[in-house]
């Protein structure tokens, strides 16, 4: 061998180089492989998703995995992150540039639809400047690079705020059974706007009216959507207001939400029961696309009774704090980890936003140039193992949001998040929510923990109390809004019985909102009061809880339909 090396040294050098490359290749493949579970990489080393300011970082990651590890691995990642996939296409929302007038915007949207289809994409729905579509993964970058496109992101989706109805008696709605309608113009029309109504057909004529109207705004038109949450809400509304006409309407994404609300307004619905919460879709000051839907409904004298949120112990907010100058936010002292516990086999999610949304113009926020990233870790027993990150680029007009979510947790365990400054020149106030954790998060701050659209000025925001003793439930989100308004407006019973959820009961502000929506329908269906008067009546006859007067935990107090 020594002789051979002496005879052809150049050949051996090439051989060793090739050997080295071969040996390193698997290692590089592991390095580049996305951290589908635990990569063991430090966050600093792992920085995919950077450099594409017009695409959400999770999509950048998907594209990278597609090219580096193939379609199967990309699909695995998409499944983990709960992305919607059809073959090699991913469902996205293409946000086109806002043009000076609506005609131009429509032309841009029309042009973009053709471009998306030319890229092999499929259009599902368009609403103003938003196009909900599928696009092949390999065409993502081309799509985002189009000059007509402002941003390509995953569809925004709300979460059910469930954590059950003795509330009928507690609130006094049962005393209304003998009431003869007085100058009521019509039966009240109430819409339960939710994600799905699985099992509702089995309850018609018993737990629900004999007939209900249904409409699905999902791309697949599936009113059931394998989700019982809406059905349970409809049960409570019917318990509260037995004569009200029910509309069961479902959707899945933000674009579908806008279309659904436009349709609801045209149906002259009077009350919307809404037990969903959104994260990272607004500045928390009543602005943003979902809050605008609430305001549009309110402008047509529709009461939008919405859950406050279940995040009182899943919420943290505070100023970015980096005393040691390492770029990482310290939640306390030198602790850069905010810990929480999550159960097995549940998708967990963490949402970060900061107060640099800019101005809301009715279509979009002017955006942020303060860039922070969000990191997720799992406790191995001895150390924090990096799991995933969200690194959307904020260099001017992007939303100040980061989100990590997916089916990470096959076993119950301890998790943590960290926040790192990428590029920020001014002090910002960070806000963080977790979802599906089963205990209070470390350093939780209940104040300001209401979710969108509970912050909307016209929303009738509802917190949760025990139907037994009126105590505020630990999870019920607190106000104020980020612009300092007191929320919630009312609190209502939770933990009540429904046929849908059976023995375990229906918990959460999800259960509370339909009590208030039902109360609105009960008064409206029996009297000539306008919806704004109905709202005032409910506020004035609420049973004050906690601090005297309206406060950020229980608003005006617990829903009360009895004579005060």
């Amino acid at each position: 061998m020594k002789r051979a090396m002496k005879q052809n040294p150049t050949g051996w050098i090439v051989f060793f180089c090739l050997l080295l490359v071969i040996l390193l290749m698997p290692t590089r493949a592991i390095v580049e492989r996305p951290p589908l579970r635990f990569s063991g990489l430090s966050p600093a080393e792992n920085a995919p998703g950077q450099g594409l300011p017009k695409m959400e970082s999770a999509l950048v990651r998907l594209k990278e995995i597609f090219y580096s590890s193939g379609p199967a691995r990309a699909k695995e990642f998409a499944g983990l992150r709960k992305m919607d996939m059809v073959e090699d296409s991913v469902r996205v929302v293409t946000v086109t540039n806002i043009m000076p007038n609506q005609l131009q915007t429509r032309m841009v949207v029309s042009a973009m639809k053709q471009k998306i289809e030319a890229l092999g994409g499929k259009i599902e729905l368009a609403y103003h400047q938003l196009i909900q579509n599928y696009v092949p993964i390999e065409a993502l970058e081309t799509l985002a690079g189009d000059p007509l496109v402002k941003y390509v992101r995953l569809p925004l989706k709300p979460v059910p705020l469930e954590v059950v109805s003795e509330g009928v008696s507690k609130t006094g709605a049962s005393q209304w059974k003998d009431i003869v309608p007085y100058r009521a113009q019509t039966d009240a029309k109430i819409c339960i706007l939710d994600l799905g109504f699985k099992g509702y057909t089995n309850l018609l004529g018993s737990e629900l009216p004999a007939t209900v109207e249904t409409r699905s705004f999902r791309a697949d038109q599936d009113i059931f959507a394998d989700e019982v949450h809406g059905t349970a809400n409809a049960e409570i509304v019917h318990d509260m207001a037995p004569n009200a006409k029910l509309w069961l309407v479902n959707f899945e994404t933000d674009v579908e939400h806008h279309s659904a609300v436009d349709w609801i307004i045209r149906q002259k619905i009077q009350v919307i029961s809404y037990s969903l919460g959104w994260f990272n879709v607004g500045a928390g000051d009543g602005t943003g696309p979902i809050c605008d839907d609430v305001e549009a409904a309110a402008s047509h004298d529709i009461i939008w009774a919405t859950s406050a949120g279940n995040g009182a112990e899943d919420h943290w907010e505070g100023n970015f704090n980096d005393p040691d100058g390492d770029g990482w936010h310290n939640f306390s002292g030198t602790d850069r980890y905010l810990e929480f516990h999550a159960p097995a086999n549940m998708p967990i999610a963490v949402f970060l936003n900061w107060n640099d949304w800019g101005t809301w113009n009715g279509y979009d926020y002017s955006g942020s140039n303060q860039d922070f990233d969000l990191y997720l870790y799992f406790w191995s027993g001895s150390s924090w193992d990096f799991v995933d990150k969200s690194s959307n680029q904020q260099n001017g007009d992007q939303w100040p949001v980061e989100e990590i979510g997916g089916w990470y947790s096959k076993t119950a365990g301890k998790w943590a998040v960290s926040i790192r400054k990428t590029s920020a020149a001014k002090p910002v106030r960070l806000e963080l929510f977790t979802y599906n954790n089963d205990e209070a998060i470390e350093y939780f701050i209940s104040s300001g923990s209401i979710t969108v659209p509970a912050d909307a000025a016209s929303a009738l925001t509802v917190g949760a109390t025990s139907w037994v003793d009126d105590s505020l439930h630990y999870y019920s989100s607190w106000g104020p809004t980020h612009d300092g308004r007191i929320k919630p407006d009312l609190v209502a019973p939770s933990g009540v019985s429904t046929s849908t959820y059976g023995q375990r009961g229906f918990w959460g502000t999800s259960a509370s909102a339909p009590h208030v929506a039902g109360a609105c329908a009960l008064i409206k269906g029996n009297s000539p009061y306008s919806m704004s008067q109905v709202r005032k009546i409910l506020e004035k006859r609420a049973i004050d809880l906690g601090e005297p007067g309206k406060d950020n935990k229980s608003g005006y107090g617990r829903l009360n339909l009895k004579q005060k």
Partner: protein, 209 residues
Amino acid sequence: MKRAALSAILLLIIALGSSQAAIHIHILGGYALPTEKNYAQAFAYGAGLSFDLHKYFAIELSGIRYESSVAGSEDGLSKGTLAVLPFEVSLKGQLPLSGGRFTPYFAVGAGYSIYQFSLDPQIVANWEKVGFRITEKLDNAIGFHIGAGLEVALNRSLALVFDAKYRFAEGNAAWTMTELAGNEEISGDLEKLDQGSIVLGIGLKFSLR
């Protein structure tokens, strides 16, 4: 309308002042058939005073009362009871036949009706139980009428009267609903509600000569 009523009263006073007429008193019982379909038929009773101006003409002052159940409607009065008390002045044309044994007559006139509407007490009580007060009021109103009848003399001083009268009247109503905890009030007006009725009666007429 008020001017017409005042004119009628003035005409009556002038006529009475210039007449040498006999005075008659009558009492009447009968049945009121409201023209508004949501009002139930009701027993009616009344009395009146008339003065002969001439062999063929007379002036009559009368009043009648009936209390009708109201079924309630969206654009009318709600369920309850409506007491109607019209005071009327009529000019009567009469034609004594068979030496005054039979006197058919016709009448035309105007009047002022007093209405008292009471909402169904059970409805009111149920609303009060949940903290709401509801009220509804029908305004008094001037009305007009035409009528016809037949007097059958039983003797010189007493006659049997068969009377039919069709009353035209419209009334305005107002309703309020007040939530007692916050005093949140809503109110509305109901205009030109049909308060017409046909009253068929039978009575006795006493003549004072």
